[in-house]
Symmetry: none
Subunit: 195 residues, 4 copies
DNA sequence: AATGAATGAGATTTCATTCAT
DNA sequence: CATGAATGAAATCTCATTCAT
């Protein structure tokens, strides 16, 4: 059970790839089946319904994202370093996996999200804790952690989208500048200087 | 174009409302017809197809958004004041019209967006010009205007979503703090202080 | 609304004919559509689902049966004459419409019947009243009307089935004998003689 | 044939139970397998197909019914006593095994019955012989044995169904009255009295 | 212009059956 | 013998679109 069954994984990955190109309703189960190399009926051994497949894919990807975020955190780094690492973890994850970003954005803005809201999100809790720590240790302005979390995460997503559009070349220097902007804006130090 | 035919407008507004609740693929034309109080066939007098209806709704809403942004700009205000006004115009528009936000987000992350990309976006141009002005006048850091635009707009959207989730009470003070953070981060002044 | 819409009626009649030959699950909607001369989707304008089609067919046929029974009753006939007329009405209806008999028998023994039980049956009430009258007027033995009703109706059905099997030629004389047997068994007179 | 293999029996009994609740087409093989505690594939070691399973179940139950009827017949009893015993054997069998009654009724009214008609029915022959004996010995009216058989059997089934509906309490006295009605109707004696 | 019944292609889902283990 | 994952044909049902009125 450690590794998802080969076929289940193939189905999830196929769905992810196809939803990016065709959207939810442009991706019939038959198409998923074909791309995954299984029979249409096989999908229903692993997932109760199309909705259930979408939900499980969402959970599956969120776990991946959490993993990525966790791995970015070096315990002996400073808080600011960890903030930068967190931001780049998100950014890199989304730019390397544009279909994941696309899927997430479709999902959270769809009626699916409403139904998934009841499930407590491990990722949200993780981010919440991270920003609370920054506030409590006096390194971040005293703003509600949900807001800071949304700002930082939303910011990484915005940049990843700019990258995805492809019109613009984003050099590492550009990115660092943006994160710096974000950090400067959120950090207590800037706040004090300006006041 | 000033006054859309009554029925056409009813169809657009009905679509908007229904897409928020049901998503694109959960909103059949028959449902739109019923909500708009017209026959199914009537929709096809005003729109070529469902896709065309979606596209026109997108244009229609973008015009609204542009209008809102334009009206927020007082010519005799300082650049920073106009920046704040711009941000609040977006924020207020999205929080007052959650279905618009929801529709936009669904749209831009769907395969529709790909097809709409060719159409030059007046809104994007407007924002681009606004941020270019800030850079040229030395009030904003020299970052690509697309990036600044994405950051500011994305930021307003993020906050509007936090508001939409409803778990959090966002006082005007909170919002001003956030825009301040954003401004501090983007403005040349902060940049100089930190260097 | 007096006459069922042409197409609706065609769908009902086609279903009836096909269920006799193929059974419930041997009669796909596509087959009904073909026989009724309509598109598959059209059925769903008139009926919510296949189950709903079956239920409506059941109601429709029960109304027919009630009509037949009602028409058999001449007000100026004696009770015994009316009993005979009732029995022959059922018998004739079922032998002339073997698919109705077949449908009823499949329906009442299927899980559908369970769901239809809540709906009060006009036919049952009519029969109940008829047999109660016979008991109250002293012409029938004092047995629960439901039982008498079931005996008489079940008896007509049994005979109609014998007819349907076709191995046996049932002359009118045979039938009259059987009804006579039934009447003799149920009537108070015989009861008294034997006691 | 005496002891069916454990598993084969489990499959048959599971099918019987499930068909009562779900009907033929509401009972997939997977459900039978689950209830019987075997794998889906295992069923196909014992039965060629689903149809074959249904047919064998029918035969299996008919053998049971014959057994029950046979055991009810005491050689030293009078004909009338044996008639009563026969009727009660059916009635008791069906009321104690409502799923059997339900299965039989579904089966004989389905397209399965058509295919099973070719197989000579031992039960029919047994009943035929019984009623022929009654006629030949002058105790029953001279009606075709098939008719008498259908009447008596149909009558027991009707009563068992009344019992099954459960709205009515059927005391033994009620039942005896009904059989008496039936006997009075069919017996030569009544016939003579009325003539 | 407006209607809404009708269409039929296509989507989701089921399930009898097979076969490698 | 037994398993149960896998199959894929076929069933139910949806819905964008048309067209006679």
């Amino acid at each position: 059970m450690e590794n998802l069954a080969e076929k289940k994984k193939a189905i999830l990955e196929s769905t992810l790839a196809l939803v990016k190109v065709n959207g939810f309703h442009g991706t019939p189960m038959s198409m998923v089946a074909k791309k995954a190399g299984v029979a249409a009926g096989t999908i229903y051994h692993y997932f109760e319904s199309k909705d259930s497949l979408i939900f499980e894919l969402y959970s599956y990807l969120k776990q991946q994202a959490i993993q990525v975020v966790r791995e970015s955190q070096k315990p002996d780094a400073t808080y600011q370093e960890r903030f930068f690492a967190l931001w780049f973890a998100f950014y890199t994850y989304y730019t390397s996996n544009p279909s994941v970003l696309c899927f997430f954005e479709q999902f959270v803005n769809s009626p699916y999200a409403e139904k998934a809201k009841s499930i407590p999100s491990e990722l949200d809790e993780l981010l919440h804790a991270f920003f609370e720590e920054g506030i409590n240790s006096g390194q971040l302005r005293p703003v509600a952690p949900q807001i800071l979390s949304m700002l930082a995460h939303g910011n990484a997503i915005s940049l990843a989208k700019v990258y995805g559009i492809g019109k613009l070349n984003l050099a590492t220097a550009d990115l660092e500048l943006v994160v710096q902007i974000l950090w400067d804006g959120m950090s207590q130090k800037t706040s004090e200087i300006n006041s």
